[in-house]
Amino acid sequence: MEDLGWSGIVVAILRNFLPVWISLAVLFAVSIRYKRRLGLYGKLFDSMIAMIGFALVMFWVFTAIFSDLIVTHDTLGQISQMKNKFPGTATPDGSGWYLLGGDHLGRDVFSRVVAGSRIVVQIAPLATLFAFMVGISLGLPAGYYGGRLDTVLSFLANLILAFPVILLFYLLVTPEIVETGLPQYMALVLFLFPIAFMMVLVNSRYYVVPAFRNKVMLIIAVVGGYLYLSLVGEVGTRVAVLPGAADFIHVPGNILIVFVSVVFVNSPTVYRIVRGITLDIKTRDYVAAGQTRGERPWYIMLWEILPNARGPLIVDFCLRIGYTTILLGTLGFFGLGLSPESPDWGSTINAGRKLLTIAPHPAIVPALALMSLVLGLNLLADGLREESLRD
């Protein structure tokens, strides 16, 4: 089989991404068709910048979803003849090409980038979401009550922010510390926030309709509780609550650590933003109206203040997914957290950097992927900010 030229590579890549193109086309067609009925999401399609950003983000999301269809080779399979081969080189058995070349162990760069997207797209938004839950749950009362609570929480947040992030990560992944179970204990605390958040959210509003409230609370407690226990616990580690037979979600220890550390360093920043907005919104008359009506504090925080803080928070959410993606890359780059085999973009860039002068492509391709995703998120955030201001 012949090696492919550049045009051949482009055509082959475009063809491999076919499921992604179809999904994107359908998504955009439907969204533009009904954009007037879709609220803020629909408004995205009024702005070119937001549309480009959204397209870039959704490209990687669909890539992650369909990655099994797109990959051309096994992400871990090594072909020794293909070490550091340039893009378009045909495999020796004639079954296909390494579209974007081979890395220093003879693995397919294209397939690894595609597979890596799955890890990035899974962890980054989820970690950001958890960071937001923690930040919101602490920022709202700090801003609303003020006083000593605010002083203490803000001091703690500053403490975490002042600590060098990379050093913190090194500490968290040190085997001695992992053995003490510290990251898992942190997960115990941090993962509790989303459940508590949901319960308070429902209770504060529906305590006036007890029958409905009890039903929803029970569902949250059972589903959330199960997810919580099986996420946090792992048989054979220090925190093992569920028996192995009932624990269907297996989170590898190192991913849990990465997850926890990302949430841990991101939540203080979210906390500060939420606290600031709360300080502003709590002076509004509708908050006073809630108070004079005898609403409880958590209702006012979650139903009167939080929805009106959504604009800046949504924008920050998008930006923060970008930061988290970079942070994951950085962690991978330093060899922290994920296993060295992992196809995530940070680790592959790190692996590729040693041979940058001989074969640049194993590092450049994931770097470009990372850049395009973060760029997309930033553009999306920009567009959202702009469109949310318009009416």
């Binding site: 109206a289 108070q291 004079t292 005898g294 609403e295 929805p307």
Partner: protein, 694 residues
Amino acid sequence: MTKWDYDGPILEIENLSISFFTRLREIPAVMDFSCVVQPGEAMGLVGESGCGKSTVALAVMRDLGKNGKIVNGTIKFKGRDLTTMSEQELRDIRGSEIAMIYQEPMASLNPAMKVGQQLMEVPMIHEGVPKADAYQRALEVVRDVRLPDPERILKSYPHQLSGGQQQRIVIAMALMSKPALLILDEPTTALDVTVEAAVVDLVKDLGKKYGTSMLFISHNLGLVLDVCNRLCVMYSGEAVETGSIKDVFDKMQHPYTQALFRSIPLPGADKNSRPLIAIPGNFPLPHERPNGCNFGPRCDYFQAGRCDAGDVPMFDVEGYDRHETRCLRVAEIDWNAPPQVAKKSEKMPIGDVVLRMEDLRKYYEVSANALFGGGDSKVVKANETLSFEAHEGETLAIVGESGCGKSTFAKVLMGLETATSGQILLYDNEIQSTPIENRSTETVSGVQMVFQNPFDTLNPSMTVGRQIIRALEIFGEGNSDAERRDRMLELLDLVKLPREFATRMPRQLSGGQKQRVGIARAFAGGAKIVVADEPVSALDVSVQAAVTDLLMEIQRKNRTTLLFISHDLSIVRYLSDRVMVMYLGHVVELGTTDQVFSPPYHPYTEALLSAVPIADTHVVKKRIVLEGDIPSAMNPPPGCPFQTRCRWKSRVPDNLCEREVPPMKTFPGGLQVKCHLSDEEFASMEPVIKVAAE
């Protein structure tokens, strides 16, 4: 250099049309606007928000932003057309020939620069005057705007001055280069009434002294009467009537002007026998203006086929000095016909006492350092010895300027704060030290509040219906969702809003409509006592009347006790049964409306009455201008709270006012006044407001 002589009119605006261009469409903001300002003349520009009056001012400054464009017409300043000038020429004129004063003084001053420097900058930039001369001139102007201790003022930063002082500095800055035209855009809206009166007085005198022409923009007809010689009434982007103050006020020739005057509470209006007449309908949005006359759909004299046929030009009114009106039927309408009085209503009997306050005090401790404690803590006495009763079905007005403690009092009553000492008795239950979370649902739903700012009173991300239903849920009204929904729709009927509004978001409602929803929400639990904190002060004049009427009507129906907090004495006189005047946390006067509005007065009430602008040329007011500002509640004066500004102080022997807080003095008839003045002095007081014979 930039100043030139010209002996024609200072400002001639001819057929000016201004549009704003948005992504969707062109929005005409001002159409076919003409006016002339002669040297030394003060022209008032009056209208409701959104009528385009500020846009005209900005067009004169050529500061319309990048969306705004002058699409037609000319603006001639001293004979030169401003619309064709280059940026360079405009820069020379702005600030030296035409100066502008905005609503918010703090926003016009640079907070990082000393006042003196900011003032000196003006002649230094425009005329290249050396620093020493500029300083002298600044000193002189600061003295002119009647600020005490000019040297110290020049050395201070803006935040070290009070709001009234800041506005005086802004005026001083505008006068630094002796401009030919001064544009004032609602210059006193952010100030308290007594401070406003002093600033308006100042503007008037300075206009005379410097011979400056003025374009005075305001929504307050009373102020315009005080300041201006001529006036132009605007409605929905058009001038509808121009003329001299006397002509327009007394012999108005446009239905809108007439309706406007009938909807503001002038002396003589009464909620029972002569109620206000609200203008029906809503202000049209700029892109939904009707054909022909813009006021047509809301006009009593509307004739289909004629008023909506085509654009209406300005007509000269015969026999008057430059009096013009934009009404086709001007000659046919009998302008002197008395208004068709809406339904009169019986005066409601006052019931039993529902709320009694006895010797209520509320002090706050403010510590110097919040983070680590320590430092000296100061005590702010927000409410001092508050005692009064409120009866069922009664309207008790609480009058006072900012910082007088009326909001604190409301907070204590609502249970958001607890009292320091004293008692609040609600139906004989003591509630002064029960915070709201410990109050029974019945107590909470029985005492509710209507807020001041319509744009802030509703949660912007919840539908109108949902917000009312929430109140019903909290108050335990209704047993099922369906029942509560029905109740919510009834409440919408009660405040006269269409039922479709239940699914609307607050941003789709106008200010008056939002305020109605706020009222519906307050009455969700069948409130017995409603605290209305300036409920109409942020609304346009024509909407004010309708919302006030609504409150009165619900009061009649439910026999609610209304505690009406306001600084606007005109509306207080119109709707309240009894009035309580507060100053720096003290109740200084308490009595029935007639008693408070006629002598004997507390000296503060007297000044307050004199300060309120009244839009009626027949009213003769005694001018009492208070010196200085309201003292800070952190650092109140010793003795009588009002002694620093009182003009009667010298009549009390032995400096008693500076040593002792006066006792509450009760007059026969029940009027209570907190003052040291002797009975003879009280008897010698003259009424502040006199209505001259027609």
